[in-house]
Each structure stands twice: as structure tokens, then as C-alpha cells.
């Protein structure tokens, strides 16, 4: 297992270098003055302009620029936002909010996937199963920002069951609606995995043995079918955690949740490109880290992976 962990971490190094280089390259290989491009059509404060020029070492050759940028990134020196705040401070303030939202969405997604997948798998081909598959297909094709607007309008404005926007006070309760909506747009993959493995498990030898022993149906389903079907669902859920961190921009923007996505959303809509690039880099690094954790989790849950 230790060997696997070491190997997986070593594999992540080129990916980390590659992704940061790619983002850097996309921004600084553009024609014209990249610093001015970073400010879009805004006229920046000369002090901020100087700070950005200094931060990106634009007087050096391109590759040296990148290496210096990388050094800053690794030492946690992330520069300043458009309005002159320290990026690391903004990050420290916004990250817990995003984490809360994403954890809640992932928990709801997991429960939906397991429960609906189990019911569907046990009654394969029945009315419930077919309805569920159609509903899942429709839900998975609603673009997330459309789903968020619909929920905001019907549940927030029309019915008044939930706050329309979250605002500064990002409590669990206030963020429940957006978390539920995100969960509904992504539970489909997990639900299918669960359904598939439940259908398979029902024909497995150990389940036949269990029923031959005279165990009750509840015990067979609960202990033997459901538990053994969970591994793919758990790893899928963990993987969606990474995708969610990246996808929070739209959610936090629409529901005005003061997390990292909202910082990025504001920077995008205001054309503050330097901040956009910084936070996309941060989100990408988080995505890479979560993906490593998912792989390790997979290896813990399924011993076969470690020996490949």
C-alpha cells in the first residue's frame, strides 16, 4: 500500500507542473501586453498594475517567468486580487464556505444515489425503475445554472420555503436548497452504478448462499447486497467532490454564497482577469489533490487496485 501511495504521489508531480504551466501559457502567450489583457477593459490602479507586473516577472524570459511564478505558488505567495486584498486571505475566508456547500451536496448526492439505486435495482424493469431512469435522464440534461434558477424562482420566490439568496450568513440551512439542486443534477451516475451493482449482486453466489441459509430478505439486502454494492458508488461520490469544487462558480454566483466560486464568479463578471487566473489555478490544484485522494481511497476500499 505504501508503494502505491508513493507511486501515485510521484505521478502527480508532472500533472501539477503541466497544469500550472498550461494555464500560465494560455494567459501569457496571448498577443499584446498580457498584464493589460489581465485587466480586460478596466483601467487599473497604477500601483496594482506595478504589483502584477512584479508578481509575474514579465521582464524575464518566458520560462524563467513561469519558474518564478511556480516558486511563488509553492511558497503560498499568491499575490493580490484586483482590489488589492491578499489572495491567501481571501482564500482562507472563502474556502470553509465552499467546503461546507460541497460536503452537503456530496452527502445528499450519495444518499440519493444509494437509496434510489437500491430500490431501482431490486425492482429491475418495474414501474419504479423505469420512471426513475427517465427522471434521471431528464435531470442530468438540465444545465446546472438553469436548475438553480428554477429552484430559486419556484422554491425561493414563489413558495418562500428557502432563502432566495444566501448572503454573508452562510449557514447549513441557508445553503440546503443550492446543495440539494446540485445533488439532483449529479446523482445520476452514482445511482446507475448502484443500480448496476445491486442487479449483479443479486445473482452472486454469496447472495444465493445467504438466502439458502434462510436469512431474512431484509438481512440479505441490507448486509449482503447493499454493502457489497457500495464501493463504486463511494469512489464515484468522491470523484464528484472534485468536479463540484470546480463547478461551484455558477452555484455560488447565483445563490450569492460567499465561497471561492463566488470570488471567481465576481472576477469573471467584472472582467478582473488576473483574479480569474489565480483562482482557476487554485481550483485546478484542489481538483488534482482531490483526484489523488480518490485514487487512494479506491485502493483502500478495493485491495485489487494496489497490486496492479
Amino acid at each position: 500500500m505504501l508503494m502505491y501511495v508513493v507511486r501515485r504521489l510521484l505521478q502527480a508531480i508532472p500533472v501539477f507542473l503541466g497544469t500550472t504551466f498550461l494555464i500560465y501559457f494560455m494567459v501569457f502567450s496571448m498577443p499584446g501586453d498580457p498584464v493589460l489583457a489581465l485587466f480586460g477593459d478596466k483601467t487599473p490602479n497604477p500601483a496594482v498594475l506595478e504589483a502584477v507586473r512584479a508578481q509575474y516577472n514579465l521582464d524575464q524570459p518566458f520560462f524563467v517567468q513561469y519558474l518564478l511564478y511556480l516558486k511563488n505558488l509553492l511558497t503560498g505567495n499568491l499575490g493580490v486580487t484586483f482590489s488589492g486584498q491578499e489572495v491567501s486571505e481571501v482564500f482562507a475566508r472563502a474556502f470553509p464556505v465552499t467546503l461546507k456547500l460541497v460536503v452537503m451536496a456530496v452527502v445528499i448526492e450519495f444518499l440519493l444515489a444509494v437509496i434510489i439505486g437500491l430500490i431501482s435495482g431490486l425492482r429491475k424493469g418495474g414501474i419504479i425503475d423505469n420512471t426513475n431512469l427517465v427522471v434521471a435522464l431528464v435531470l442530468s440534461s438540465v444545465p446546472p445554472f438553469v436548475a438553480l434558477f428554477l429552484a430559486q424562482y419556484f422554491i425561493g420566490i414563489k413558495l418562500g420555503w428557502a432563502p432566495v439568496t444566501v448572503g454573508a450568513n452562510a449557514t447549513w440551512g441557508a445553503m440546503f436548497l443550492p446543495a440539494l439542486v446540485i445533488a439532483l443534477t449529479i446523482y445520476v451516475t452514482g445511482m446507475r452504478l448502484m443500480r448496476g451493482s445491486v442487479i449483479e449482486a443479486q445473482n452472486a453466489d454469496y447472495v444465493r448462499t445467504a438466502s439458502a441459509k434462510g436469512l431474512t430478505r431484509g438481512r440479505i439486502v441490507g448486509v449482503h447486497v447493499a454493502r457489497n454494492s457500495l464501493i463504486p458508488v463511494i469512489t464515484n461520490t468522491a470523484a464528484s467532490f472534485g468536479a463540484l469544487i470546480a463547478g461551484t462558480t455558477v452555484t455560488e454566483g447565483i445563490f450569492n454564497i460567499p465561497g471561492i466560486g463566488k470570488v471567481l464568479f465576481d472576477a469573471i463578471t467584472r472582467g478582473e482577469n488576473a483574479t480569474v487566473v489565480t483562482f482557476v489555478t487554485i481550483l485546478t490544484i484542489m481538483y488534482v489533490i482531490v483526484n489523488i485522494l480518490v485514487d487512494l481511497l479506491y485502493a483502500v476500499l478495493d485491495p485489487r487496485i494496489r497490486y496492479v
Binding site: 498577443p31 440534461s141 438540465v142 424562482y153 471567481l264 481538483y287 488534482v288
Partner: protein, 313 residues
């Protein structure tokens, strides 16, 4: 040693029984994977619904004047701002007083062209990357797969956000490149896995044994037999690309506001969601139904091309 007699006992063939088993019945229907899949698709009502939606959207994209006489931008009058449906304007008006229905009809071509272009770019980059890596293996595989890993590690939506933010020009081609330029990494992974399986099959060995070059074998035999997951992925990716374009436009970094796009319409209607929710609802519906049609097509093709799934049904 030529006079040594080797004796073999060969059972006399039974003229009545064996023949029936071995006979090739020429009268049977021709059958191969694609024909079977096509027969399967034709029996499914959902297939016709999805095809009908795609046909209507394509028609609107090519000939918008078939669906509406109103020009989406010229007839805007602020007096109609957020107006209710009237004669000739079945879905009401936007905040700027434009006809919602006309804007949806004219927006179809944007969504569809972005979708098709992204699929084209994804295929052009992803297919060679995945196929060459798997088929040649060795250092080619190492290099191509590591490059793919890097593109795979950046969520393509975030990459598109960066590209679109710093791009001085924003048009259909640029936005398609921004999305497709990263979306190919998933396709390359899927195809690589498939080619790895196919390349060890006997007909591939036979093709090389008969003197066909390695590259020609790849193009003539390996690729055509690895296309199933590619087609499924690209169909679903078409829907996803349409969503991505709408989301970027909604964030204000998609196509300029002068371009007709469902994402732009949704973004503009957002500020008056409380007073005129329908101006937000209709383009959202058009977007969702179109994406749904492509996702259904992808799912049906996946089922149809998988004989095991066919048997399970």
C-alpha cells in the same frame, strides 16, 4: 522413408446430419454490429422523439425564417419591455422588448454550431491521441498519455473560463476551441482503453501477418472496431458543449451580447426573474430539451451497440 504408411482413421461423413449444421443459409438477414444496432434503434419510440427534436433544432438553425417572420434584433421596442404574449409574439418579450420566440429560433444555430464544432475538435485531437498511444505503446504511449493527463486534470469548464477571459475576440470558433481544446482528453482516455483491447484480437494479427503495414492496420481494422464508445461519447459531448457555451455566455464571457445565444438570453432575463420569469423559462426550456435530445440519442446508441445490453432487456 517414403514408403512408411501413416494410418489415420477418418470417420465417414454423414451426408444427412452434419450438413444441416454447417450450412450457410444465404436467405437469412444480413447481420453485423451496425445493422443490428440500427434494427434495435428503429424499434424504440424514444429514438424517434430525440431525432425529431434534433431535426427541428437543425431546421431552425439552417432556416430560421421558416419558423418566424420577426427578426430577433430589429423589431425590439422598449415599450414592449417584459411584455406578455401578443398576436404574432407567442412567448412575449424580453427586457429589451425583443421577441422571445424569435430570439430562441435564431439562437438555435449558435448552440448547434458550437456543439458540432466542439465535437469536431474533440474528435480531431482525441482520436489520434488515444489511438496512437494505445496501438503503438512504449514511449509514444508514455508521452501522449502524460500530455493527456495534464489536459484531463484541468476541468474543461475552468480552462474555457481562462481562455475566454483573456481572449480579445469572442466568436463561435474561439469558444469551440476553448471547450474542445480540453474536452478531448476524456475521449482519448476512452479510446485508448478500447484500442488496447481490440489490438490483441486475432484479426489484427492476421492483418499484419498478411503484410499490411502497422499504420494501415490501425486505420483499416483497429479504429473501425473501436468506434462504439467514441460515437457514444461524442453524441453526449455535443449536448454538454451546448450547455458549456450557454454557461459561459451566462457568465458574460461567452459570445458577445450581439450574438443570438440561449445562454445570453438566459443571462439577460436573469435580472428580471421576479417580474418576467417566462423570458428566463423559454430559452432554458429550449436549451434543456436540445441537450436532452442529444443525451437520449447517446444513451440509445450505447444500448444498441452493446449486444449484452440488448440481451438484458
Amino acid at each position: 522413408m517414403s514408403d512408411r504408411i501413416t494410418e489415420h482413421y477418418v470417420a465417414p461423413s454423414d451426408p444427412n446430419e452434419g450438413g444441416e449444421v454447417d450450412k450457410v443459409r444465404l436467405s437469412d438477414r444480413k447481420s453485423n454490429l451496425w445493422l443490428d444496432a440500427w434494427r434495435d434503434l428503429r424499434r424504440r419510440p424514444l429514438f424517434y422523439i430525440a431525432i425529431a427534436i434534433v431535426a427541428v433544432v437543425s431546421l431552425a438553425a439552417l432556416f430560421p425564417s421558416l419558423f418566424t417572420d420577426t427578426l430577433p434584433n430589429n423589431d425590439c421596442q422598449l415599450a414592449n419591455s417584459n411584455g406578455a404574449p401578443t398576436e404574432g409574439h407567442p412567448l412575449g418579450f424580453t427586457r429589451q422588448g425583443c421577441d422571445v420566440y424569435a430570439r430562441i429560433v435564431y439562437g438555435a444555430s449558435t448552440s448547434l454550431s458550437v456543439g458540432l464544432l466542439v465535437v469536431l475538435i474533440t474528435a480531431v485531437i482525441g482520436i489520434p491521441m488515444g489511438a496512437l498511444a494505445a496501438f503503438y505503446g512504449g514511449w509514444i504511449d508514455s508521452v501522449l498519455s502524460r500530455v493527456g493527463d495534464i489536459f484531463f486534470a484541468i476541468p474543461y469548464f475552468l480552462a474555457a473560463v481562462v481562455v475566454m477571459s483573456v481572449m480579445p475576440q469572442r466568436n463561435v470558433l474561439v469558444i469551440s476551441l476553448a471547450i474542445g481544446g480540453f474536452a478531448w482528453a476524456s475521449l482519448a482516455r476512452i479510446l485508448r482503453a478500447e484500442v488496447l483491447q481490440v489490438k490483441n484480437l486475432e484479426y489484427v494479427m492476421a492483418s499484419e501477418a498478411m503484410g499490411r503495414s502497422k499504420f494501415s492496420t490501425l486505420v483499416r481494422h483497429v479504429l473501425p472496431n473501436s468506434l462504439t464508445p467514441v460515437i457514444v461519447y461524442l453524441t453526449i459531448a455535443l449536448g454538454a458543449a451546448i450547455t458549456a457555451e450557454a454557461t459561459l455566455s451566462f457568465l458574460g464571457i461567452g459570445l458577445g451580447s450581439s450574438t443570438m445565444s440561449w445562454g445570453n438570453d438566459i443571462a439577460q432575463a436573469q435580472s428580471s426573474i421576479r417580474v418576467a420569469p417566462m423570458a428566463l423559462f423559454w430559452p432554458s426550456l429550449a436549451l434543456t430539451v436540445t441537450v436532452l435530445a442529444f443525451i437520449i440519442l447517446g444513451e440509445l446508441i450505447r444500448d444498441a451497440l452493446d449486444p449484452k445490453a440488448r440481451a438484458r432487456r
